[in-house]
Amino acid sequence: MESRKLLKSGEFLVSSTEAADVFIPEEFSEEQKMIAQTCSDFLQTEVMPKMNDLEKSDRELMKMILRKSGELGMLGISIPEEYGGFGQDFITQMLVAETTGAGASFSVAFMAHCGIGTLPIMYYGNDDQRQRYVTLLATGEMIGAYCLTEPGAGSDANAGKTSAKLSDDGKNYIINGQKMWITNAGFADTLVVFAKIDNDRVLSAFIIEAGYPGVVIGPDEHKMGIKGSSTAQIYFNDVKVPVENLLGKRGEGFRIALSILHMGRIKLGANVLGAAKMAINDSVKYANERKQFGVLISSFGAIKHKLAEQVIRLYASESAVYRVSRDINELINRYKSECGDKHRASIDAISHYAVEAAILKVAGSEMLDLVVDEAVQIHGGMGYSAEMEVERAYRDSRINRIFEGTNEINRLLVGDTAMKRAMKGDFDLFGEAEKLFADIDNLNDGRTAGESYHQEKKRYIGNFKKLILLCIHGSMKHFAKGLISEQEVMNNIANMMMEIYLSESMALRIEKLETIRGEVSVYRDILDVNIRETANLVRKEATDAICSFASGDSLPSLVRAAEELTRVSFVNSKDARRRIADKLIEDNSYKF
């Protein structure tokens, strides 16, 4: 067990982290690389050649491919060996999520099965339920789905109307209701279903086999993207579910649903990395082949700008994903050693990092949207042709901003969860904010002579954090309990938090990387451009927030602080982006 300080969720706002204490992708073990290679090989041999058929919503084909991935052990990565899996650590789970992210619709089916379809039973089931279901889900002998959303209950999951009543003989629950947007509905064998028992205020969870009488699967929805994944409504008409299939305790459903969503969000943050890498590779390969005006389009500055921007955004997300993966991994180990239920330890640790999970979900899904959008643009007219991979990638990407909690809900969660955790006493957010506000007229950018490259970057990031604290302090003073309803201000706070977490993760990664490989200038280019962009964004978001709550003397003081705390050195972004793009163009694929 390592002795490094483990930050609590959201604590990064008030604490700094040492580069030596973060995990970076360059530290993957040979075994982890082999696992990723297996997933990648599987996509290349079993998934991509069948993509055209999958896109026609061939349910049986998708189920067959999922089963094949189960034969290789890919479905059992997160499952302990005692239940037929391979018990890999959380970092490896995230690496697998990343790698399979390049699998388009297969990735959605795979992630739904391995995550929301299997893990509720793994984490909240009893041993009998795990033996009956998890052992088969881990090998692909059964395929899982998760049924939470209803026509009237989307983001407000607790508003679900699906009901459960105990039968007269006390042996079964009788389930009635309708669920929608159910991934893997068309071929799933087991369904984790949320319903309210009698007139309970809160949800309970059940394991329902798709073959039980009264379970009716609707036709697949016609979707914008991820057409190969089966998405359908499921109807429950007087379905008799044995009482042994109640998952967790009565009334524990909402907690299960939320915990699993935290897990889904954080894995989505990893999943989009794989999709983005594929789109970047397609982009640069095309730019390196397509000629206009007698030269390759990869030689044009406008195209280099797009390629570089794709790289910078991806690199930032990637840095953050593996930084938090290690934090979660260590917390899992800590919880396991402290509490009796080692399976609950995993989900409790993942749920703890709710702030970072929401950050990775929102930042990752929006990063991918930018990457695929530019991928289509780089392809020009060909990007609009359904023959090209990027056309599918563009459509497939869009759902990521909607499922696993919309980005609007997750943006609210970023700031709100951090503030609630601070109020609970996890870290001192408000005391720090109060101190800064009291001294606001003396705030400056903190520049000192002779600071190193990385010290300078840390100072910038520290200043950005101070500005967030001022915004949180001011908005809480002004709006008090009504702050959560001021969603625009909550968005300003979330946007700042996301950019800062990503920039800090990138800065720590590059600082650590330099201790391994020595200084490589192109990584400093990435960081220079990113910090400059983050400063601009943080200043804008902070100013918007400040103008919405401040007045009188505090308004000019806060606006001046926003200027002061986002002052960063000038960068020749044009040349830096060109150098980043040149590496991508030279390698002809993303090798950062």
Binding site: E30, E31, K33, M34, I35, Q37, D41, D587
Partner: protein
């Protein structure tokens, strides 16, 4: 019956090769190393035979001549399914040296079938397999596209001009294989990856062979010229280009 598959550690086929030290060596920084594709197919076929009880193949070993830094590639072969491995601790410099080292290590172990890919995707010398058979003093069969074991006797299909030839070979022998030996490479399963860490890699120190070649420099082939399209109704233009530009007629 025991099979040994010789594997080479080569740059991933998508690698953009760069040179260093004034074009005197290959710049290995950032290269992703993989099992040579022909060797990977050979391994897949050897494992198919081992997994078929009727073949009588009991064990598949992989052998590699290279430094400790190539062990991840060996470990990958073990994850794919090889039972154990041999590594000759050396820095191979040419086909003669590599074949000599592998022959010395393999020869001591008494294998029945030695399989080599027809070439490696880095230097493409196509010489190691034949040299191993000469070093050990056993027969070799080239251009092998099929390998079966019929009641203990290897039956080989080899590609020849205009068709295929089927031959029976007494063991031990070297099979120099090409594409077709297996349908596709085998993907390492999660269980294979987990068990690979405990499979033995026997390390041999190199024997005293000299390299017979000296590399004086590397250069890249000239970029491929652009393709010109000629109107089908204008054969005179084609003739003019072939005569004056390509200078082939």
């Amino acid at each position: 019956m025991n099979i040994v598959v010789c594997i080479s550690n080569v740059p991933d086929t998508t690698t953009r090769i760069k040179f260093s030290e004034g074009n005197a060596s290959i710049d290995t920084s950032g290269i992703q190393w993989v099992i040579n594709p022909w060797d990977e197919l050979s391994l897949a076929r050897a494992l198919e035979l081992r997994d078929d009880p009727a073949s009588g193949v009991k064990k598949v070993t992989v052998a590699h001549a290279g430094p400790a830094s190539s062990e991840p590639t060996i470990r990958k072969a073990l994850a794919i399914g090889a039972d154990d491995a041999i590594r000759v601790n050396c820095n191979p410099s040419d086909a003669y040296y590599t074949a000599g080292q592998l022959a010395a290590a393999i020869g001591k172990e008494g294998f029945d079938v030695i399989i080599c890919g027809i070439e490696s995707s880095d230097f493409n010398g196509s010489a190691v397999g034949g040299m191993i058979s000469e070093f050990i003093g056993i027969p070799s069969v080239s251009s092998v596209s099929g390998l079966n074991i019929d009641t203990g006797v290897p039956v080989i299909t080899r590609e020849i001009d205009g068709g295929r030839e089927s031959v029976k070979v007494p063991v031990p022998f070297v099979a120099i294989v090409q594409k077709g030996i297996a349908k596709e490479p085998r993907i390492a399963s999660m269980r294979g990856i987990m068990t690979a860490r405990t499979k033995p890699i026997k390390v041999h120190e190199p024997v005293d062979y000299d390299s017979l070649t000296e590399i004086s420099g590397f250069e890249k082939p000239a970029p491929r010229a652009a393709c010109k399209f000629i109107d089908a109704d204008d054969p005179a233009k084609l003739i003019e280009l072939l005569q004056n530009e390509a200078k082939v007629i």
